[in-house]
Symmetry: C2
Subunit: 372 residues, 2 copies
């Protein structure tokens, strides 16, 4: 009974926040009062990171300083490089980031909560380095240079990934996607970060919890699952038949619907536009129409709308990003929102410790080992 | 308002469990229906681990097989050893275990949930190895042998720590303490493990979240804080004066009271007896009387009772365990309870995603960068 009422804590208010409204009218998303559509249209990801981590949208001078600060924080300490070398080539990249974040916390520990904003910036700046150092070390057997001239995180990531500066449109598409994924209230990974933070654990512990939580296919892993699905179809017709068959088999189709949004996911409209633009730009005539067909069937048959993950999959593919890096990109973005929530939890802390309804055995008489 | 009602989710039922009742009459603790007093009196930690991970108290044959299985899982893969070498000597041991657990998840990944019980046993068997390999590598510059003839986790841990087999009474004291710490319903670290599990993340991610959460001083770190406090006093009189002064200054005294227990913490009575016995056995005439004095003042002045952490501190000291290993020992025990909760969450899963009350700025008009 209690389980029905509070299963998964749906509808339970677990605390207050000044950071984000999500789905307040069933379809809106604001970061500190700014709509995600405005931010995606008019700002860059570093402005949004500054808004979330440092509390306000930066001025021209502040933004330049912030980009310079982040650029200066991209290198990795040698012990961390050796650790990344030890992580197998076949590891899931999310496990690489989870381990990299945890390891950095042993090498550059948080000695005082006063360091928290610098640590947030350090992680924001160094996650692309961790992932791509490990990736190239194993794929090419080479230690890449972690410095580039790119002043944006999106540009820097694509440069490290491909070994050269990316097309401006691809850079901006990834930049927008980072804005869309930056923050989302008490989602599971953020809530995990707050549960960890609430014991007064260090910053890295909280972010490590968040990464591990984002890893699951019901959360961050959804865009990877969407991509794997889309890749199965070599035509719009094949997608049509395949999806209808999956629905008939009651299989789960990832990238649709949302625990909080009831009408639409505002992020989907933005990233869908970008996916369409990138399809034209890159000359790919298959993936976007296939995606749209899946979208149409889901609306028609299930009344479901795409969430942020669905069109992100094709957008990332057009940027030539390997599927297994989709969720790590989510980490590179969401570290901004996680950080804001860690600060907020610490500023007004209370241990997060719910109760449980016991449905197990009654008190049992102990029977000694020899008599069992 | 919502914050007051649900601050820290106190009193909110976040789900059902068959594993543990805690504080059902304000003072009791049962694992799968067996009272913790019975278990601490009559069973060994491996029996309790079997009860929690494998669902029932083992027979004589099952226990022998289980101990043999755990003994066979104590070694560490070479890449993990190299990773542990890279973690600085000054790191917090909890950060070592957090990173070691995460790294093992990249080297021996969970490819199917069918592996979950073996992974639970693997972590149970290898946490002492991770901690003490790292510890001796940095303290003595030597790579210790991770195999011992000890067939209990408590004995194995003390052997690895001190380089020789420990006194039987010390082994049993640690063994009992592992029983007492094994499981505690939806405490913060277990709840964090369940939040992570509920996205369908892998086993290592869930345990990594739990370790990071246990690290905080409001949770697992409390026994370390209690020890640091007790060590300040070189006499019962000094403790008396010091604690009264701290109370007058409204300083927090760790190791007393509990979110769930209202009358007493049943674990405290058990470990207090052991602490007293070890004091006599080791000839230490200071630490136990100092602890009792602090206990008496807290009862008298604040009406608070000691929780499991308070007398664990002195018991561990009598076993010659360094203070910074107190919380890691908690990990070595609680991995059993965490595992049971991860299995349970997976068996009847629902994403754990509460809501938040928004108290931030109203929707704001976006101002372009150049106009700020």
């Amino acid at each position: 009974m209690a389980d029905k009422k509070t299963g998964g804590l749906a509808g339970i208010v677990a605390g207050t926040t000044e950071i984000c409204t999500v789905g307040s009218e069933g379809n809106s998303l604001h970061y500190r009062g700014f709509s995600v559509e405005d931010l995606a249209e008019h700002s860059c990801f570093e402005e949004v990171a500054h808004l979330l981590i440092h509390g306000h949208l930066p001025t021209v001078v502040e933004l330049a300083q912030y980009k310079a600060k982040l650029s200066s924080m991209r290198s990795l300490p040698n012990p961390l490089k050796i650790i990344l070398q030890q992580i197998p080539a076949i590891a899931h990249p999310m496990d690489v980031l989870r381990t990299g974040c945890s390891a950095l916390g042993t090498i550059e520990p948080e000695e005082s909560f006063k360091q928290q904003k610098d640590i947030a910036d350090r992680l924001l700046a160094s996650f692309p380095s961790m992932l791509l150092y490990w990736y190239h070390y194993h794929k090419q057997g080479k230690e890449i240079n972690l410095q580039t001239e790119e002043d944006s995180i999106a540009g820097h990531f694509l440069h490290l990934l491909h070994g050269h500066s990316a097309d401006v449109m691809l850079q901006r598409a990834l930049d927008v996607s980072l804005i869309l994924y930056a923050e989302h209230e008490f989602n599971a990974s953020t809530f995990a970060a707050r549960v960890t933070t609430a014991t007064l654990a260090d910053f890295y512990s909280a972010v490590t919890s968040a990464i591990g939580t984002l890893r699951g296919s019901l959360h961050g892993g959804a865009n990877e699952e969407a991509m794997k699905l889309l890749e199965r179809f070599d035509s719009v017709d094949a997608a049509d038949k395949g999806i209808r068959q999956m629905l008939a088999n009651k299989e789960l189709i990832m990238g649709f619907g949302h625990r909080v949004y009831r009408v639409r996911d505002p992020r989907s409209d933005v990233i869908k536009e970008w996916s369409k633009k990138l399809a034209a730009h890159t000359g790919n005539t298959l993936l976007f129409p296939v995606s749209e067909q899946v979208d149409n069937i889901m609306a028609e048959e299930k009344g479901l709308f795409p969430n942020a993950d669905f069109y992100s999959a094709s957008a990332y593919r057009f940027c030539d990003i390997p599927t297994e890096m989709f969720t790590p990109i989510f980490v590179m973005s969401r570290i901004t929102g996680w950080s804001a929530h860690i600060f907020e939890q610490r500023a007004n802390n209370k241990l997060i410790r719910p109760g449980a309804e016991y449905i197990g055995p009654e008190p049992q008489t102990f029977v000694a080992l020899e008599q069992r």
